[in-house]
């Protein structure tokens, strides 16, 4: 079974620029998650989708971050404009049903904002 795919793997941008990350979850998984992992911390949930709909985006900084899940499959996460404190690894994960199911993580995108 193919795992969760993410691209790009690395991205370096200057502050105030925009950036987008892409995620392709495991086939058939209804729930998709985006996490932000700052160096030295554990992953923090940014947004959770169940099929097409948003289940939880309470920790998403909506003034600069946006996310969508296209046709209940792929997802993109965008930051516009980026700030220095957005430097982190952005992880995508998916699970068959909800968050109590095993979540399968992708390799992550390491974002550096200069």
């Amino acid at each position: 079974e193919a795992g969760v795919a993410q691209s790009p793997r690395y991205k370096i941008i200057e502050k105030r620029q925009s950036v987008a990350f892409w995620c392709n979850p495991i086939s058939g998984h209804a729930t998709l998650y985006w996490y932000q992992q700052i160096l030295g911390q554990g992953p923090k949930l940014l947004i959770q989708f169940q099929n097409n709909g948003v289940v939880d985006d309470s920790q998403l900084p909506k003034d600069r971050f946006s996310a969508e899940r296209l046709k209940g499959v792929d997802s993109t996460l965008k930051i516009q404009p980026a700030k220095l404190e957005d430097s982190a690894v952005y992880l995508c994960a998916s699970s068959q049903r909800g968050p109590t199911d095993t979540q399968y993580f992708g390799p992550g995108t390491r974002l550096t904002v200069l």
Partner: protein, 112 residues
């Protein structure tokens, strides 16, 4: 707010030593508990999980964890570590909010 504390940030052990990593959660209701592991250069992956029943849970690679409800703890153990256990270990849980909350992680380094 729900939270997880992992008290050991960096642990160094020799091969064959016993391991116990602490995890305490802050939440008043029913919880589902997890340990995830990230080996060097690999994805974050599930090590073991507890939902209900026997509070002693066995996972992959000889790891186990014990849920002690009265102490709000879910410590990870392994009787004899191997060099290949070098990794970062994350405790996590979900409550009724159904959001997976992670601890800050413990970096385990096993020396030969």
């Amino acid at each position: 707010a729900q939270s997880v504390s992992q008290h050991n940030h960096h642990v160094i052990l020799s091969e064959a030593a016993s391991l116990e990593l602490g995890c305490n959660y802050s939440y008043g209701g029913t919880v589902n508990l997890f340990w995830y592991v990230q080996y060097p250069g690999q994805h974050l992956q599930l090590l073991l999980k507890y939902f209900s029943g026997d509070p002693l849970v066995k996972g992959i690679k000889g790891f186990e964890a014990e849920f002690i409800k009265s102490k709000f703890s879910f410590n990870l153990r392994k009787p004899s570590v191997q060099w290949s256990d070098t990794a970062e270990y994350f405790c996590a849980f979900t409550g009724t909010a159904s959001k997976l909350t992670f601890g800050t992680g413990t970096r385990l380094q096993v020396t030969l």
